[in-house]
Symmetry: C2
Subunit: 188 residues, 2 copies
DNA sequence: CATTGCAGAGAACGCTCGTTCTCTGACCTT
DNA sequence: AAGGTCAGAGAACGAGCGTTCTCTGCAATG
């Protein structure tokens, strides 16, 4: 029998992959069981309901996103470079075969109207990203109003890339961000 | 007994409202029947399956969006004003009580992974909007690369306003658009 | 070695939903 | 006025899902 932590991780990462690819409601618990190789009894011992599993998946995605952004930002030297690095991170992500848009936006569209806990988790993830951008904007010495503008570009790039299938959305967002950053720095 | 066109319109607008508020899969055909006041037999005579109804709803939304944008743009005098009018239109929309994000993005997140026809309808609506923006950019005499940047801002504003619940996303997008337009005109 | 307990597989249950069918009553025709 | 046609209400059906239960087999303990 496998370790509890291993089982939990297998279930969450399997559910993440399936929910992301097909939508939450389109994936049954049986499919999670089969692909994760963990019995239903075990899954329900770890996560009392499907909603709990969804929340665990969102937490998992949040961690992945946070470390991805942190790594990308850490690779840049200047504050402006750190801001632009976010869009380079997006460009890489958009080119992955499994890319199907922002999981948080997707799940918000699917379940946000019915589950307040899911809506809250999505809201918190987006707010956290905005805080992160605001921090980098301040470090760059640019005016505060730049931060929500850059965040908007990042969000728009994710949905556009998902729907059109064109990863070049990241390039457009990066170019727009570059222009906005320059203007903001020139004004201040 | 009511007219066929009236029945069709009642069903589509009811389904639109319900699907938009709660998600497609969360709304049963019984709920559409009850709220529209049209019998199931009639509904299935007009739309052979729920998928067909979803597509009809998307067409309906496309029409609403197109006329909304057209009206907003028509109210502005200069080409630049027409571009900014798009964001004023968004600002008004975001303040509606029923606002819950872009219906196309929501339905894409929920069903795009499973239904190619739905994905295609969403893709086409977004592409049509991008063409519209590109047209206005050309009329304004700005370089072509501006268009996808402005479209990104509009998309990002829609998702951000939906998730955060803050209609001010439209204001941020408008300000960013204004900056980008000025820079693009100065460069050309 | 016999026994107890526990984990896994998957059958079972209750519910919901998309779709179809049936019955009833009203209207139209002659 | 009688008979036929058609629309509406909602029951019915079959499938799928989340969740629980049962049975089987294995492993640990005395």
């Amino acid at each position: 029998m496998i370790d509890e932590e291993t089982a939990r991780e297998r279930v969450v990462s399997t559910a993440d992959r399936l929910f992301y690819a097909h939508g939450v409601q389109a994936v049954g618990m049986d499919a999670v069981r089969t692909e994760a190789g963990v019995s239903l009894k075990r899954i329900y011992a770890l996560f009392p309901s499907k909603d709990d599993l969804v929340l665990a998946v969102l937490r998992h995605r949040t961690d992945l996103w946070d470390t991805g952004i942190a790594d990308a930002v850490a690779g840049a030297a200047t504050p402006c470079g750190k801001l632009l690095a976010i869009f380079d991170f997006l460009a890489t992500w958009f080119r992955e075969d499994s890319f199907r848009g922002c999981a948080f936006i997707n799940v918000f569209g699917e379940l946000g109207g019915g589950s307040e806990t899911v809506a809250e988790a999505v809201r918190e993830q987006k707010a956290s990203f905005q805080r992160r951008v605001a921090e980098l904007v301040r470090e760059a010495g640019a005016p505060d109003h730049l931060a929500p503008q850059l965040a908007l570009l990042a969000e728009g790039a994710q949905t556009t890339a998902a729907i059109s299938g064109d990863p070049e959305a990241a390039g457009h967002a990066r170019a727009a961000a570059d222009t906005l950053i320059r203007c903001a720095l020139a004004d201040s």
